[in-house]
Symmetry: C2
Subunit: 454 residues, 2 copies
């Protein structure tokens, strides 16, 4: 692997300038105006993978954004690693809060600043370049497939069918994913748990038009007031979600398991400082890492209604809406949770308004075993590159398709991400440390080496 690592060292600058080309493509999957950018991005990646050493690469259509598939088969009897990543990114709103243009990458303070710098263009590109290094130095010890999608941030709606339709093409021994974070560069970790997700949108309608709040105020249900009441009631004073049946399938850890779980190093004071908050908040009786690791949650992701511009407007809005998502843990089912949510929300709405409830997307939780060969290989690779044994870590985030892979393809995933909390993914001013990028590049070939060993 020395050769591959030397190759990386000698080509670092070029890798960065190539990554910048990828980052400049504004591939926001949530917004239909960016549809053409999705295709551009997929084609760019397919070409890049062929240049890196793939036998062939294809941009494959789906009902949504295309999938990029590439492979290099060195030996039908060798192990096969399939790299999964996503080339779509989150919207950039609120755009005013970015210090630099969201799609113009810039290096500052040792970090790459751009939407997608970490999530997931920066991380998937490490895999493309590690692959190139192994191909160029003839040290690639496994067959490699790349499966890159353009809809992860909207719940991978097309990838389930794509997997079902292409099972043979997608055969592999392990799916390798860098779309998660480590605890810190000093405390490397491998993600072994992901939460599931149910993402809903609700709309409350009162009168059929906006009304003068003086002439009608106090006599007609105001949908914005009603919405606050309905949404507020979804969580009680103890931080519990009040939807009947919500906790029915939550796996309860034994006291011993909880003790082990809480051994993960966590500095609550540093956590609060990094977010500029005076107090953490959440479900009573659980620690902060339990609240994101093993407990479900419910968050308003967006809320809007009435007059939201400068100054005042004395209006009772006709409608008010909210986007509400729930993070789920084993063994909650995202479809069942969506149904429970909808039934409950309709039930608590007063007769003075009409409500609509839409399911936007969802995914089931995932727990990875720590005794599989890929985990062991990743552990050894990280020990070699970071000098420390990685900690198995439960992330609060979701990558719904990971469970889908297991269900449809029967393949487990290894979540070896090099992100950090400070990367501010999904937020304005996303960034990715150059040290994270290079450390990832260094670790990946080591993973291949240890994984290929008998």
């Amino acid at each position: 692997m020395e050769k591959a690592l030397n190759y990386i060292e000698n080509n670092k600058e070029r890798f960065l300038s190539e990554l910048f080309e990828l980052l400049r493509i504004p591939s926001v999957s949530a917004q239909s105006e960016h549809k053409p950018d999705m295709k551009t991005c997929a084609e760019w990646l397919a070409a890049a993978l062929v240049k890196a050493g793939a036998d062939h690469a294809e941009v494959m259509p789906t009902e949504g954004n295309p999938v990029v598939f590439a492979e290099r088969i060195i030996d039908p009897n060798a192990k096969t690693v399939m790299v999964y990543g996503h080339y779509d990114v989150m919207p950039v709103d609120p755009v005013d809060e970015w210090n630099t243009s969201p799609f113009e990458p810039e290096i500052r303070d040792g970090r790459i600043w751009c939407r997608g710098a970490d999530d997931d263009k920066g991380q998937l590109f490490m895999h493309a370049k590690a692959f190139e290094a192994m191909c160029a130095t003839e040290t690639l010890p496994c067959n490699v497939k790349f499966l890159l999608e353009g809809e992860e941030e909207i719940g991978s709606p097309s990838l389930y069918k794509f997997c079902a339709d292409n099972k043979e093409m997608l055969r592999a021994d392990i799916i390798l994913v860098s779309d998660t974070s480590m605890i810190s560069m000093e405390t490397p970790s491998i993600t072994v748990g992901l939460r599931g997700l149910t993402y809903m949108e609700v709309e409350v309608t009162g009168p059929d038009k906006d009304l003068h709040s003086g002439l009608f105020g106090g006599a007609v249900a105001n949908p914005a007031n009603v919405l606050t009441r309905l949404v507020a009631s979804l969580i009680d004073e103890r931080g519990h979600v009040t939807i009947p049946g919500f906790y029915d399938d939550v796996r309860i850890l034994s006291d011993e398991e909880r003790r082990a779980f809480n051994e993960t190093p966590f500095d609550e004071e540093a956590y609060k400082r990094s977010l500029d908050i005076d107090e953490v908040a959440g479900e009573e009786g659980f620690t902060t890492i339990e609240r994101t690791g093993i407990r479900p949650s419910l968050d308003v992701n967006g809320i809007w209604g009435g007059y939201t511009e400068e100054g005042t407007k004395t209006v009772i809005p006709s409608k008010a809406s909210a986007k509400i998502s729930m993070r789920l843990v084993p063994d909650q089912d995202y479809k069942k949770i969506g149904e429970l949510f909808e039934r409950h929300f309709r039930a608590i709405a007063p007769k003075s308004v009409k409500v609509s409830v839409k399911f936007l997307h969802g995914g089931i939780p995932y727990v990875a075993p720590t005794d599989m060969p890929a985990y062991k290989a990743a552990e050894k690779a990280i020990v070699a590159s970071f000098g420390k044994t990685p900690i198995p870590f439960y992330s609060g985030g979701s990558i719904p398709i990971i469970s889908g892979f297991e269900q449809i393809l029967g393949i487990k995933s290894l979540l070896i991400g090099f992100g950090l909390a400070e990367d501010a993914i999904h937020s304005p001013n996303e960034s990715y440390g150059l040290n994270q990028f290079y450390k990832g590049l260094e670790t990946i070939p080591l993973f291949y080496k240890y994984f290929a060993e008998k």
Copy 2:
């Protein structure tokens, strides 16, 4: 008055085309981008009043938008009527819901469709044209002053000082105002009560940046969730405002007064149909007309936070905000209510967030006597034009400056408005019936005639 009414009849079409010129000026006081339009509008009105017959008209600067003052003095010993109106209009958002361009007036179904068609350009223009008719036919029986401001929709912040600085210029026996509605064309009414107003804006801040709702969801206070909880708690299940001290100064009507008050004709089924709602809602133990006439209320006029665009974004917003206004009744004080609101809102906020509370504007409630000469004159004028005795009516709306006039100038106001609920003022698709416009034009000279009589 026959001559004046004939003049009106013969000039109806021209009046409309002049009104359209006025309506086309987008004089939105809440939005600073429209600053130049305010001046244009004031200058247009001053010129129009001179053409109508004023001895002189002036655009007088204030710290905010200019005031238009005009007068015609026929005899220092005659009675003086001062017409008050406002040339500023409400914002047009949500602009998508307009069927035609908000500032391009159009006649359809016997109505003028445009922002300001009723509130208040259409209504104040009736006064300008009734004045013109009386001047042109030499039938004007009173001195007339016009006081037209450009900040009514934002709480008349400059007009209080303007009145205090110009007391002598503004001397009059009555202030005549058409900025209110009638119950219906079949049930004419004169507004004798206006609610006061306290308009606040609150902002809840959690983490210092938007966060990934998976990585942090359940462990950090989400300001959008907290905002819904705080706002929802401001009204209890019985429809009572929960702010301590809120009801302390509310004037309680005797049983007899309430019985009399509830004799106002009101068709609740028609009311619900006109708003497309299944049930009215409000404070327990009060009728709909009591809820808007003699009881205070609290409404969310706008709420916003997080991702509000198409699709999904899994984010915990850093901030969430709401605009909240309260309608007040005698003897509530808008400043005191603002202070009570702020103290309460800060007190109920959890330590996991920071809140800011801003007072945006306010005004005190107003009750007009029904035994003053101007009321009697208006009653006779309406009997003559509508064929029915008008009902004294408590509007839920607010014109804060009306109380200001009484306090600063010592002059009472007569609220003779020709609006209707269906005019949808403050809403998309504001309109004003041609019959309302013409009925107003017919009634106003009659008012002058009866008011001038000893």
